[in-house]
Symmetry: C2
Subunit: 309 residues, 2 copies
Protein backbone atom coordinates (compact mmCIF):
# COMPACT_ATOMS: atom_id res chain seq x y z
CA UNK A 1 0.00 0.00 0.00
CA UNK A 2 2.83 2.45 0.74
CA UNK A 3 3.84 2.24 -2.94
CA UNK A 4 0.34 3.31 -3.93
CA UNK A 5 0.73 6.32 -1.66
CA UNK A 6 4.17 7.06 -3.12
CA UNK A 7 2.80 6.84 -6.65
CA UNK A 8 0.02 9.27 -5.80
CA UNK A 9 2.44 11.66 -4.12
CA UNK A 10 4.66 11.60 -7.22
CA UNK A 11 1.71 12.08 -9.56
CA UNK A 12 0.31 15.06 -7.63
CA UNK A 13 3.74 16.40 -6.63
CA UNK A 14 2.18 16.93 -3.24
CA UNK A 15 3.45 15.15 -0.09
CA UNK A 16 0.37 16.37 1.72
CA UNK A 17 -2.83 15.01 3.16
CA UNK A 18 -6.02 16.91 3.89
CA UNK A 19 -7.51 16.19 7.30
CA UNK A 20 -11.27 15.77 7.00
CA UNK A 21 -12.09 16.79 10.58
CA UNK A 22 -15.36 18.64 10.09
CA UNK A 23 -16.35 20.34 13.33
CA UNK A 24 -19.82 21.84 13.06
CA UNK A 25 -18.28 25.27 13.62
CA UNK A 26 -16.31 24.89 10.36
CA UNK A 27 -19.42 24.24 8.29
CA UNK A 28 -21.00 27.28 6.60
CA UNK A 29 -24.52 28.17 7.68
CA UNK A 30 -26.05 27.57 4.26
CA UNK A 31 -25.05 23.89 4.48
CA UNK A 32 -25.93 23.42 8.12
CA UNK A 33 -29.31 25.10 7.75
CA UNK A 34 -30.27 22.92 4.80
CA UNK A 35 -29.43 19.77 6.79
CA UNK A 36 -31.16 21.03 9.94
CA UNK A 37 -34.25 21.93 7.92
CA UNK A 38 -34.39 18.42 6.55
CA UNK A 39 -33.42 16.40 9.66
CA UNK A 40 -33.70 18.82 12.59
CA UNK A 41 -30.94 19.74 15.03
CA UNK A 42 -30.29 16.05 15.58
CA UNK A 43 -27.42 13.62 15.13
CA UNK A 44 -28.84 12.92 11.66
CA UNK A 45 -28.94 16.61 10.82
CA UNK A 46 -25.39 17.24 12.00
CA UNK A 47 -24.07 14.13 10.24
CA UNK A 48 -25.76 15.15 7.01
CA UNK A 49 -24.14 18.59 7.23
CA UNK A 50 -20.73 17.00 7.74
CA UNK A 51 -21.19 14.68 4.79
CA UNK A 52 -22.37 17.47 2.45
CA UNK A 53 -19.45 19.63 3.59
CA UNK A 54 -16.89 16.85 3.11
CA UNK A 55 -18.22 16.03 -0.34
CA UNK A 56 -17.77 19.59 -1.56
CA UNK A 57 -14.29 19.86 -0.02
CA UNK A 58 -13.28 16.61 -1.72
CA UNK A 59 -14.77 17.67 -5.06
CA UNK A 60 -12.75 20.89 -4.91
CA UNK A 61 -9.40 19.32 -3.97
CA UNK A 62 -9.17 15.67 -5.00
CA UNK A 63 -7.21 16.29 -8.20
CA UNK A 64 -4.46 18.11 -6.27
CA UNK A 65 -3.77 15.70 -3.43
CA UNK A 66 -2.82 12.06 -2.91
CA UNK A 67 -4.68 11.40 0.32
CA UNK A 68 -7.19 12.44 2.94
CA UNK A 69 -7.21 11.73 6.66
CA UNK A 70 -10.64 11.66 8.28
CA UNK A 71 -10.34 11.90 12.09
CA UNK A 72 -12.94 9.41 13.28
CA UNK A 73 -13.54 11.20 16.62
CA UNK A 74 -15.17 14.04 14.68
CA UNK A 75 -17.72 11.52 13.35
CA UNK A 76 -18.04 9.29 16.42
CA UNK A 77 -19.23 12.31 18.42
CA UNK A 78 -22.36 12.28 16.25
CA UNK A 79 -23.13 8.66 17.13
CA UNK A 80 -24.43 6.19 14.57
CA UNK A 81 -25.35 8.90 12.02
CA UNK A 82 -21.82 10.27 12.43
CA UNK A 83 -20.33 6.85 11.76
CA UNK A 84 -22.51 6.59 8.66
CA UNK A 85 -21.06 9.95 7.51
CA UNK A 86 -17.55 8.56 8.17
CA UNK A 87 -18.32 5.47 6.12
CA UNK A 88 -19.79 7.51 3.24
CA UNK A 89 -16.78 9.85 3.33
CA UNK A 90 -14.30 6.95 3.15
CA UNK A 91 -16.18 5.37 0.24
CA UNK A 92 -16.54 8.67 -1.63
CA UNK A 93 -12.85 9.50 -1.29
CA UNK A 94 -11.90 6.05 -2.56
CA UNK A 95 -14.19 6.54 -5.57
CA UNK A 96 -12.21 9.71 -6.26
CA UNK A 97 -9.03 7.59 -6.10
CA UNK A 98 -7.82 9.28 -2.96
CA UNK A 99 -5.91 7.21 -0.44
CA UNK A 100 -7.75 7.23 2.89
CA UNK A 101 -5.84 7.36 6.15
CA UNK A 102 -8.30 6.57 8.94
CA UNK A 103 -7.08 8.57 11.92
CA UNK A 104 -8.52 6.18 14.46
CA UNK A 105 -5.65 5.76 16.97
CA UNK A 106 -6.87 2.30 17.96
CA UNK A 107 -4.83 -0.23 19.88
CA UNK A 108 -5.58 -2.96 22.42
CA UNK A 109 -4.44 -6.41 23.52
CA UNK A 110 -3.80 -8.85 20.66
CA UNK A 111 -7.20 -10.42 20.08
CA UNK A 112 -8.94 -7.06 20.37
CA UNK A 113 -6.44 -5.25 18.15
CA UNK A 114 -7.22 -7.89 15.56
CA UNK A 115 -10.88 -6.83 15.65
CA UNK A 116 -9.90 -3.16 15.23
CA UNK A 117 -7.58 -4.09 12.35
CA UNK A 118 -10.44 -5.98 10.72
CA UNK A 119 -12.82 -3.07 11.31
CA UNK A 120 -10.59 -0.52 9.62
CA UNK A 121 -8.35 -2.39 7.19
CA UNK A 122 -9.52 -5.97 6.80
CA UNK A 123 -12.57 -8.06 6.11
CA UNK A 124 -14.76 -9.70 8.71
CA UNK A 125 -15.45 -13.40 8.40
CA UNK A 126 -19.18 -13.94 8.88
CA UNK A 127 -19.59 -17.70 8.99
CA UNK A 128 -17.35 -18.17 5.95
CA UNK A 129 -18.39 -15.02 4.06
CA UNK A 130 -15.75 -12.26 4.03
CA UNK A 131 -17.27 -8.79 4.21
CA UNK A 132 -15.63 -5.36 3.93
CA UNK A 133 -16.11 -3.14 6.94
CA UNK A 134 -14.88 0.50 7.00
CA UNK A 135 -12.04 -0.47 4.67
CA UNK A 136 -9.73 2.52 4.91
CA UNK A 137 -6.29 2.22 3.27
CA UNK A 138 -4.24 3.18 6.33
CA UNK A 139 -5.07 3.49 10.02
CA UNK A 140 -3.25 5.20 12.87
CA UNK A 141 -2.40 2.94 15.82
CA UNK A 142 -1.42 3.58 19.46
CA UNK A 143 1.69 1.65 20.59
CA UNK A 144 1.21 1.72 24.39
CA UNK A 145 0.34 -2.00 24.58
CA UNK A 146 3.46 -3.19 22.73
CA UNK A 147 4.03 -5.78 20.02
CA UNK A 148 0.97 -7.90 20.57
CA UNK A 149 -1.24 -4.84 20.09
CA UNK A 150 0.55 -4.00 16.83
CA UNK A 151 1.12 -7.38 15.22
CA UNK A 152 -2.52 -8.03 14.23
CA UNK A 153 -2.45 -4.74 12.31
CA UNK A 154 0.78 -5.73 10.52
CA UNK A 155 -0.70 -9.11 9.63
CA UNK A 156 -3.78 -7.45 8.14
CA UNK A 157 -1.52 -5.00 6.23
CA UNK A 158 0.19 -7.98 4.64
CA UNK A 159 -3.01 -9.87 3.97
CA UNK A 160 -4.96 -6.99 2.43
CA UNK A 161 -2.20 -4.65 1.16
CA UNK A 162 -2.86 -1.91 3.70
CA UNK A 163 -0.73 0.32 5.91
CA UNK A 164 -0.55 1.82 9.39
CA UNK A 165 1.03 4.83 11.06
CA UNK A 166 2.03 4.21 14.65
CA UNK A 167 2.00 7.10 17.14
CA UNK A 168 5.60 7.85 18.03
CA UNK A 169 5.81 11.54 18.98
CA UNK A 170 2.50 13.35 18.88
CA UNK A 171 2.04 17.02 18.05
CA UNK A 172 0.26 18.13 21.23
CA UNK A 173 1.85 20.31 23.95
CA UNK A 174 1.90 17.62 26.65
CA UNK A 175 3.14 14.80 24.39
CA UNK A 176 6.47 14.95 26.21
CA UNK A 177 5.06 13.93 29.59
CA UNK A 178 5.56 10.27 28.83
CA UNK A 179 6.96 10.20 25.27
CA UNK A 180 10.05 12.26 26.15
CA UNK A 181 10.95 10.41 29.37
CA UNK A 182 14.42 8.92 29.19
CA UNK A 183 14.87 5.16 29.42
CA UNK A 184 18.35 3.73 29.03
CA UNK A 185 19.43 7.23 28.06
CA UNK A 186 16.94 7.60 25.22
CA UNK A 187 13.43 9.06 25.17
CA UNK A 188 10.45 6.71 25.00
CA UNK A 189 9.57 8.00 21.51
CA UNK A 190 12.92 6.74 20.25
CA UNK A 191 12.31 3.30 21.73
CA UNK A 192 8.92 3.25 20.03
CA UNK A 193 10.54 4.39 16.76
CA UNK A 194 13.05 1.54 16.93
CA UNK A 195 10.17 -0.89 17.31
CA UNK A 196 8.37 0.76 14.36
CA UNK A 197 11.48 0.09 12.29
CA UNK A 198 11.51 -3.53 13.47
CA UNK A 199 7.75 -4.11 13.00
CA UNK A 200 8.02 -2.44 9.61
CA UNK A 201 10.60 -4.93 8.36
CA UNK A 202 7.79 -7.50 8.30
CA UNK A 203 5.71 -5.49 5.84
CA UNK A 204 8.02 -4.06 3.17
CA UNK A 205 6.58 -2.84 -0.12
CA UNK A 206 9.61 -2.09 -2.36
CA UNK A 207 11.79 0.60 -0.71
CA UNK A 208 9.41 1.56 2.07
CA UNK A 209 7.41 -0.24 4.72
CA UNK A 210 3.65 -0.31 5.12
CA UNK A 211 4.33 0.48 8.76
CA UNK A 212 4.84 4.21 9.18
CA UNK A 213 4.97 6.57 12.13
CA UNK A 214 3.24 9.71 13.38
CA UNK A 215 5.68 12.46 14.38
CA UNK A 216 4.29 15.94 15.03
CA UNK A 217 5.43 18.94 13.00
CA UNK A 218 5.66 20.83 16.27
CA UNK A 219 8.83 18.97 17.30
CA UNK A 220 11.19 19.35 14.30
CA UNK A 221 14.34 18.38 16.21
CA UNK A 222 12.67 15.11 17.11
CA UNK A 223 11.64 14.63 13.48
CA UNK A 224 15.26 14.94 12.42
CA UNK A 225 16.41 12.24 14.86
CA UNK A 226 13.54 9.87 14.11
CA UNK A 227 14.03 10.16 10.34
CA UNK A 228 17.33 8.30 10.81
CA UNK A 229 15.95 5.79 13.31
CA UNK A 230 13.21 4.62 10.91
CA UNK A 231 14.73 5.01 7.42
CA UNK A 232 12.16 2.74 5.74
CA UNK A 233 9.08 4.22 7.40
CA UNK A 234 6.94 7.01 6.05
CA UNK A 235 6.27 9.71 8.62
CA UNK A 236 2.76 11.14 8.84
CA UNK A 237 3.27 14.68 10.12
CA UNK A 238 0.35 16.41 11.86
CA UNK A 239 0.62 19.89 13.34
CA UNK A 240 1.49 21.93 10.23
CA UNK A 241 -0.26 25.30 10.05
CA UNK A 242 -2.91 25.78 12.70
CA UNK A 243 -0.90 23.92 15.38
CA UNK A 244 2.25 25.92 14.60
CA UNK A 245 4.47 23.67 12.44
CA UNK A 246 6.30 25.52 9.62
CA UNK A 247 7.36 24.17 6.21
CA UNK A 248 11.06 24.92 6.75
CA UNK A 249 10.94 22.78 9.88
CA UNK A 250 9.55 19.84 7.96
CA UNK A 251 12.34 19.21 5.49
CA UNK A 252 14.13 16.94 7.94
CA UNK A 253 11.15 14.59 8.06
CA UNK A 254 11.92 13.68 4.42
CA UNK A 255 14.58 11.31 3.14
CA UNK A 256 17.16 12.31 0.50
CA UNK A 257 14.94 10.70 -2.17
CA UNK A 258 12.39 13.45 -1.47
CA UNK A 259 10.03 10.85 -0.03
CA UNK A 260 9.38 9.48 3.42
CA UNK A 261 6.96 12.05 4.80
CA UNK A 262 3.43 13.24 4.25
CA UNK A 263 2.26 16.42 5.94
CA UNK A 264 -1.30 16.82 7.20
CA UNK A 265 -3.34 19.97 7.40
CA UNK A 266 -6.91 19.85 8.64
CA UNK A 267 -8.59 23.09 9.66
CA UNK A 268 -5.95 25.10 7.71
CA UNK A 269 -7.53 23.64 4.57
CA UNK A 270 -11.14 22.76 5.32
CA UNK A 271 -11.82 25.94 7.29
CA UNK A 272 -9.52 28.14 5.17
CA UNK A 273 -12.39 30.52 4.37
CA UNK A 274 -12.35 31.59 8.03
CA UNK A 275 -8.79 32.91 7.73
CA UNK A 276 -8.18 36.54 6.74
CA UNK A 277 -6.07 35.32 3.85
CA UNK A 278 -8.98 33.50 2.20
CA UNK A 279 -11.84 35.64 3.54
CA UNK A 280 -12.63 36.99 0.09
CA UNK A 281 -14.03 33.58 -0.89
CA UNK A 282 -16.80 34.05 1.66
CA UNK A 283 -18.60 31.16 3.33
CA UNK A 284 -20.36 30.27 0.06
CA UNK A 285 -16.92 29.82 -1.50
CA UNK A 286 -15.52 27.63 1.30
CA UNK A 287 -14.61 24.80 -1.07
CA UNK A 288 -12.73 27.11 -3.44
CA UNK A 289 -10.96 28.58 -0.41
CA UNK A 290 -9.92 25.04 0.55
CA UNK A 291 -8.57 24.52 -2.97
CA UNK A 292 -6.57 27.75 -2.78
CA UNK A 293 -5.20 26.71 0.62
CA UNK A 294 -4.12 23.33 -0.77
CA UNK A 295 -2.28 25.06 -3.63
CA UNK A 296 -0.57 27.40 -1.16
CA UNK A 297 0.39 24.53 1.16
CA UNK A 298 1.80 22.56 -1.75
CA UNK A 299 3.87 25.56 -2.82
CA UNK A 300 5.00 26.31 0.74
CA UNK A 301 6.26 22.77 1.32
CA UNK A 302 7.63 22.42 -2.21
CA UNK A 303 9.67 25.62 -1.82
CA UNK A 304 11.08 24.54 1.54
CA UNK A 305 12.03 21.15 0.13
CA UNK A 306 13.68 22.60 -3.00
CA UNK A 307 15.73 25.08 -0.97
CA UNK A 308 17.36 22.29 0.99
CA UNK A 309 18.22 20.11 -2.00
Amino acid sequence: MIQKLINSIKKTQAPIVVGLDPKLSFIPDHIKNKSFNEYGKTLEGAADAIWQFNKLIVDATYDLIPAVKPQIAMYEQFGIPGMVAFDKTVKYCKEKELIVIGDVKRGDIGSTSESYAIAHLGKIDIDGVNVDVFDEDFATVNPYLGTDGIKPFVDICNEHDKGIFILVKTSNPSSGEFQDKLMDGKPLYEHVARMVDKWGADSMDADYSNVGAVVGATYPEVGKVLRDVMPKSFILVPGYGAQGGKAEDLVHYFNKDGLGAIVNSSRGIIAAYKQDKYASFGSEGFADAARAAVIDMKEDIGKALSQTR
Copy 2:
Protein backbone atom coordinates in the same frame (compact mmCIF):
# COMPACT_ATOMS: atom_id res chain seq x y z
CA MET B 1 -20.21 8.30 39.15
CA ILE B 2 -17.72 6.19 41.10
CA GLN B 3 -20.08 6.31 44.10
CA LYS B 4 -22.85 4.86 41.94
CA LEU B 5 -20.51 2.02 41.04
CA ILE B 6 -19.57 1.55 44.71
CA ASN B 7 -23.24 1.46 45.71
CA SER B 8 -23.95 -1.19 43.10
CA ILE B 9 -20.94 -3.24 44.15
CA LYS B 10 -22.12 -3.11 47.77
CA LYS B 11 -25.69 -4.00 46.83
CA THR B 12 -24.67 -6.99 44.72
CA GLN B 13 -21.72 -7.93 46.93
CA ALA B 14 -19.86 -8.44 43.67
CA PRO B 15 -16.78 -6.42 42.73
CA ILE B 16 -17.03 -7.85 39.24
CA VAL B 17 -17.89 -6.74 35.75
CA VAL B 18 -19.01 -8.90 32.86
CA GLY B 19 -17.23 -8.15 29.60
CA LEU B 20 -19.73 -8.14 26.75
CA ASP B 21 -17.24 -9.06 24.01
CA PRO B 22 -19.38 -11.24 21.79
CA LYS B 23 -17.20 -12.87 19.13
CA LEU B 24 -19.32 -14.73 16.59
CA SER B 25 -17.63 -17.95 17.67
CA PHE B 26 -19.11 -17.54 21.16
CA ILE B 27 -22.67 -17.30 19.89
CA PRO B 28 -24.65 -20.56 19.78
CA ASP B 29 -25.79 -21.74 16.36
CA HIS B 30 -29.49 -21.44 17.15
CA ILE B 31 -29.09 -17.69 17.65
CA LYS B 32 -26.73 -17.13 14.72
CA ASN B 33 -28.85 -19.16 12.32
CA LYS B 34 -31.99 -17.24 13.21
CA SER B 35 -30.23 -13.92 12.53
CA PHE B 36 -28.60 -15.20 9.34
CA ASN B 37 -31.95 -16.49 8.12
CA GLU B 38 -33.47 -13.08 8.65
CA TYR B 39 -30.61 -10.82 7.48
CA GLY B 40 -28.21 -13.12 5.63
CA LYS B 41 -24.52 -13.63 6.42
CA THR B 42 -24.06 -9.88 6.41
CA LEU B 43 -22.96 -7.20 8.86
CA GLU B 44 -26.64 -6.81 9.77
CA GLY B 45 -27.01 -10.52 10.37
CA ALA B 46 -23.90 -10.74 12.54
CA ALA B 47 -24.84 -7.61 14.48
CA ASP B 48 -28.34 -8.94 15.12
CA ALA B 49 -26.87 -12.20 16.44
CA ILE B 50 -24.60 -10.25 18.79
CA TRP B 51 -27.46 -8.16 20.05
CA GLN B 52 -29.76 -11.15 20.66
CA PHE B 53 -26.91 -12.95 22.43
CA ASN B 54 -26.06 -9.95 24.62
CA LYS B 55 -29.67 -9.44 25.58
CA LEU B 56 -30.04 -13.00 26.84
CA ILE B 57 -26.73 -12.85 28.72
CA VAL B 58 -27.81 -9.59 30.38
CA ASP B 59 -31.27 -10.96 31.22
CA ALA B 60 -29.62 -13.95 32.92
CA THR B 61 -27.05 -12.03 34.97
CA TYR B 62 -28.11 -8.42 35.58
CA ASP B 63 -29.44 -8.99 39.10
CA LEU B 64 -26.10 -10.45 40.23
CA ILE B 65 -23.67 -7.83 38.97
CA PRO B 66 -23.04 -4.10 39.23
CA ALA B 67 -21.62 -3.47 35.79
CA VAL B 68 -20.89 -4.62 32.26
CA LYS B 69 -17.99 -3.75 30.00
CA PRO B 70 -18.73 -3.93 26.28
CA GLN B 71 -15.48 -3.95 24.26
CA ILE B 72 -16.29 -1.67 21.33
CA ALA B 73 -13.81 -3.34 18.96
CA MET B 74 -16.05 -6.42 18.95
CA TYR B 75 -18.86 -4.24 17.58
CA GLU B 76 -16.81 -1.91 15.37
CA GLN B 77 -15.63 -4.92 13.37
CA PHE B 78 -19.22 -5.31 12.17
CA GLY B 79 -19.32 -1.74 10.87
CA ILE B 80 -22.39 0.45 11.21
CA PRO B 81 -24.69 -2.45 12.15
CA GLY B 82 -22.13 -3.44 14.79
CA MET B 83 -22.15 0.07 16.21
CA VAL B 84 -25.95 -0.05 16.31
CA ALA B 85 -25.67 -3.28 18.32
CA PHE B 86 -23.21 -1.54 20.66
CA ASP B 87 -25.61 1.36 21.11
CA LYS B 88 -28.58 -0.95 21.77
CA THR B 89 -26.51 -2.98 24.23
CA VAL B 90 -25.48 0.13 26.18
CA LYS B 91 -29.07 1.37 26.34
CA TYR B 92 -30.46 -2.02 27.33
CA CYS B 93 -27.91 -2.47 30.12
CA LYS B 94 -28.71 0.99 31.46
CA GLU B 95 -32.43 0.14 31.46
CA LYS B 96 -31.49 -2.84 33.61
CA GLU B 97 -29.69 -0.42 35.94
CA LEU B 98 -26.31 -1.83 35.13
CA ILE B 99 -23.36 0.54 35.04
CA VAL B 100 -21.78 0.50 31.60
CA ILE B 101 -18.03 0.71 31.18
CA GLY B 102 -17.33 1.39 27.51
CA ASP B 103 -14.02 -0.33 26.81
CA VAL B 104 -13.06 2.04 24.01
CA LYS B 105 -9.40 2.86 24.79
CA ARG B 106 -9.67 6.22 23.06
CA GLY B 107 -7.18 9.05 23.43
CA ASP B 108 -5.86 11.81 21.16
CA ILE B 109 -4.66 15.41 21.25
CA GLY B 110 -6.80 17.75 23.34
CA SER B 111 -9.44 18.94 20.89
CA THR B 112 -9.88 15.43 19.49
CA SER B 113 -10.02 13.77 22.91
CA GLU B 114 -12.81 16.20 23.70
CA SER B 115 -14.79 14.78 20.78
CA TYR B 116 -14.18 11.22 21.98
CA ALA B 117 -15.22 12.23 25.50
CA ILE B 118 -18.41 13.74 24.11
CA ALA B 119 -19.05 10.64 21.98
CA HIS B 120 -18.84 8.24 24.92
CA LEU B 121 -19.65 10.20 28.07
CA GLY B 122 -20.99 13.63 27.18
CA LYS B 123 -23.56 15.36 25.06
CA ILE B 124 -22.94 16.91 21.66
CA ASP B 125 -23.97 20.51 21.12
CA ILE B 126 -25.83 20.69 17.83
CA ASP B 127 -26.37 24.38 17.24
CA GLY B 128 -27.52 24.93 20.83
CA VAL B 129 -29.34 21.61 21.26
CA ASN B 130 -27.54 19.12 23.55
CA VAL B 131 -27.94 15.54 22.38
CA ASP B 132 -26.86 12.27 24.04
CA VAL B 133 -24.50 10.16 21.95
CA PHE B 134 -23.38 6.66 23.09
CA ASP B 135 -23.65 7.78 26.70
CA GLU B 136 -21.78 5.07 28.56
CA ASP B 137 -21.11 5.63 32.29
CA PHE B 138 -17.35 5.03 32.15
CA ALA B 139 -14.85 4.83 29.30
CA THR B 140 -11.33 3.44 29.14
CA VAL B 141 -8.69 5.92 27.95
CA ASN B 142 -5.13 5.56 26.59
CA PRO B 143 -2.56 7.85 28.30
CA TYR B 144 0.20 7.92 25.65
CA LEU B 145 -0.53 11.55 24.66
CA GLY B 146 -0.28 12.94 28.21
CA THR B 147 -2.38 15.44 30.15
CA ASP B 148 -3.95 17.28 27.29
CA GLY B 149 -5.34 14.00 25.94
CA ILE B 150 -6.82 13.17 29.35
CA LYS B 151 -8.10 16.51 30.61
CA PRO B 152 -11.12 16.74 28.26
CA PHE B 153 -12.29 13.39 29.62
CA VAL B 154 -11.89 14.59 33.22
CA ASP B 155 -13.84 17.75 32.40
CA ILE B 156 -16.67 15.73 30.90
CA CYS B 157 -16.62 13.42 33.96
CA ASN B 158 -17.19 16.47 36.14
CA GLU B 159 -19.79 18.01 33.87
CA HIS B 160 -21.90 14.88 33.39
CA ASP B 161 -21.05 12.76 36.46
CA LYS B 162 -19.15 10.09 34.57
CA GLY B 163 -15.88 8.22 35.07
CA ILE B 164 -12.86 6.89 33.20
CA PHE B 165 -10.29 4.13 33.62
CA ILE B 166 -6.87 5.03 32.25
CA LEU B 167 -4.62 2.27 30.89
CA VAL B 168 -1.71 1.93 33.28
CA LYS B 169 -0.47 -1.65 33.05
CA THR B 170 -2.32 -3.78 30.55
CA SER B 171 -2.90 -7.53 30.86
CA ASN B 172 -1.30 -8.65 27.59
CA PRO B 173 2.03 -10.53 27.35
CA SER B 174 3.96 -7.70 25.64
CA SER B 175 2.61 -4.89 27.84
CA GLY B 176 6.06 -4.61 29.44
CA GLU B 177 7.83 -3.57 26.23
CA PHE B 178 7.15 0.08 26.92
CA GLN B 179 5.13 0.09 30.14
CA ASP B 180 7.87 -1.60 32.21
CA LYS B 181 10.79 0.50 30.91
CA LEU B 182 12.55 2.31 33.71
CA MET B 183 12.60 6.11 33.75
CA ASP B 184 14.21 7.84 36.69
CA GLY B 185 14.42 4.44 38.33
CA LYS B 186 10.72 3.67 38.04
CA PRO B 187 8.74 1.88 35.34
CA LEU B 188 6.62 3.90 32.95
CA TYR B 189 3.43 2.36 34.38
CA GLU B 190 4.28 3.87 37.75
CA HIS B 191 4.76 7.32 36.21
CA VAL B 192 1.39 6.95 34.51
CA ALA B 193 -0.15 5.80 37.81
CA ARG B 194 1.20 8.90 39.57
CA MET B 195 -0.45 11.04 36.91
CA VAL B 196 -3.71 9.09 37.33
CA ASP B 197 -3.59 9.96 41.02
CA LYS B 198 -2.99 13.61 40.15
CA TRP B 199 -5.63 13.81 37.41
CA GLY B 200 -8.04 12.01 39.72
CA ALA B 201 -7.75 14.67 42.39
CA ASP B 202 -9.72 16.95 40.05
CA SER B 203 -12.71 14.62 39.97
CA MET B 204 -13.33 13.30 43.48
CA ASP B 205 -16.71 11.77 44.36
CA ALA B 206 -16.64 11.23 48.15
CA ASP B 207 -13.77 8.85 49.04
CA TYR B 208 -12.87 7.79 45.52
CA SER B 209 -12.09 9.50 42.26
CA ASN B 210 -14.00 9.23 39.01
CA VAL B 211 -10.59 8.69 37.41
CA GLY B 212 -9.60 5.05 37.78
CA ALA B 213 -6.94 2.86 36.22
CA VAL B 214 -6.64 -0.36 34.26
CA VAL B 215 -4.12 -2.81 35.75
CA GLY B 216 -4.09 -6.37 34.40
CA ALA B 217 -4.75 -9.35 36.68
CA THR B 218 -1.81 -11.04 35.00
CA TYR B 219 0.70 -8.82 36.84
CA PRO B 220 -0.27 -9.12 40.54
CA GLU B 221 3.03 -7.75 41.87
CA VAL B 222 2.44 -4.61 39.84
CA GLY B 223 -1.10 -4.40 41.14
CA LYS B 224 0.21 -4.42 44.71
CA VAL B 225 2.57 -1.50 44.03
CA LEU B 226 0.04 0.53 42.07
CA ARG B 227 -2.68 0.10 44.71
CA ASP B 228 -0.53 2.30 46.97
CA VAL B 229 0.41 4.80 44.25
CA MET B 230 -3.23 5.57 43.45
CA PRO B 231 -5.10 5.15 46.77
CA LYS B 232 -8.17 7.06 45.58
CA SER B 233 -8.52 5.37 42.20
CA PHE B 234 -10.58 2.31 41.44
CA ILE B 235 -8.66 -0.31 39.52
CA LEU B 236 -10.41 -2.07 36.65
CA VAL B 237 -8.76 -5.48 36.46
CA PRO B 238 -8.91 -7.38 33.18
CA GLY B 239 -7.22 -10.74 32.68
CA TYR B 240 -9.01 -12.85 35.33
CA GLY B 241 -9.85 -16.37 34.20
CA ALA B 242 -9.24 -16.96 30.51
CA GLN B 243 -6.10 -14.79 30.43
CA GLY B 244 -4.67 -16.51 33.52
CA GLY B 245 -5.31 -14.14 36.48
CA LYS B 246 -6.30 -15.97 39.71
CA ALA B 247 -8.55 -14.70 42.54
CA GLU B 248 -5.85 -15.03 45.22
CA ASP B 249 -3.60 -12.77 43.13
CA LEU B 250 -6.25 -10.07 43.02
CA VAL B 251 -6.65 -9.30 46.70
CA HIS B 252 -3.84 -6.75 46.55
CA TYR B 253 -5.76 -4.69 43.99
CA PHE B 254 -8.30 -3.88 46.73
CA ASN B 255 -7.99 -1.34 49.52
CA LYS B 256 -8.49 -2.19 53.19
CA ASP B 257 -12.09 -0.95 52.95
CA GLY B 258 -12.77 -3.90 50.62
CA LEU B 259 -13.27 -1.49 47.74
CA GLY B 260 -11.01 -0.02 45.09
CA ALA B 261 -11.08 -2.74 42.46
CA ILE B 262 -13.50 -4.31 40.03
CA VAL B 263 -12.52 -7.50 38.23
CA ASN B 264 -13.58 -8.19 34.66
CA SER B 265 -14.30 -11.50 33.05
CA SER B 266 -15.45 -11.68 29.44
CA ARG B 267 -15.29 -15.01 27.67
CA GLY B 268 -15.09 -16.83 31.04
CA ILE B 269 -18.70 -15.72 31.58
CA ILE B 270 -20.31 -15.16 28.21
CA ALA B 271 -18.82 -18.30 26.65
CA ALA B 272 -18.95 -20.35 29.86
CA TYR B 273 -21.05 -23.03 28.15
CA LYS B 274 -17.99 -23.92 26.06
CA GLN B 275 -16.01 -24.89 29.17
CA ASP B 276 -16.08 -28.48 30.42
CA LYS B 277 -17.27 -27.21 33.78
CA TYR B 278 -20.48 -25.77 32.34
CA ALA B 279 -20.89 -28.11 29.36
CA SER B 280 -23.99 -29.70 30.85
CA PHE B 281 -25.93 -26.49 30.14
CA GLY B 282 -25.48 -27.11 26.42
CA SER B 283 -25.48 -24.35 23.85
CA GLU B 284 -29.23 -23.80 24.34
CA GLY B 285 -28.49 -23.08 28.02
CA PHE B 286 -25.62 -20.63 27.34
CA ALA B 287 -27.27 -17.84 29.34
CA ASP B 288 -27.84 -20.07 32.37
CA ALA B 289 -24.22 -21.20 32.07
CA ALA B 290 -23.19 -17.52 32.15
CA ARG B 291 -25.25 -17.04 35.30
CA ALA B 292 -23.61 -20.04 36.94
CA ALA B 293 -20.18 -18.72 35.96
CA VAL B 294 -20.99 -15.32 37.49
CA ILE B 295 -22.03 -17.00 40.75
CA ASP B 296 -18.81 -19.04 40.76
CA MET B 297 -16.66 -15.98 40.00
CA LYS B 298 -18.35 -14.03 42.77
CA GLU B 299 -17.69 -16.85 45.21
CA ASP B 300 -14.09 -17.31 44.02
CA ILE B 301 -13.23 -13.65 44.51
CA GLY B 302 -15.28 -13.32 47.71
CA LYS B 303 -13.46 -16.27 49.26
CA ALA B 304 -10.03 -14.91 48.33
CA LEU B 305 -10.94 -11.51 49.76
CA SER B 306 -12.31 -12.93 53.02
CA GLN B 307 -9.23 -15.11 53.56
CA THR B 308 -6.96 -12.08 53.59
CA ARG B 309 -9.06 -9.96 55.94
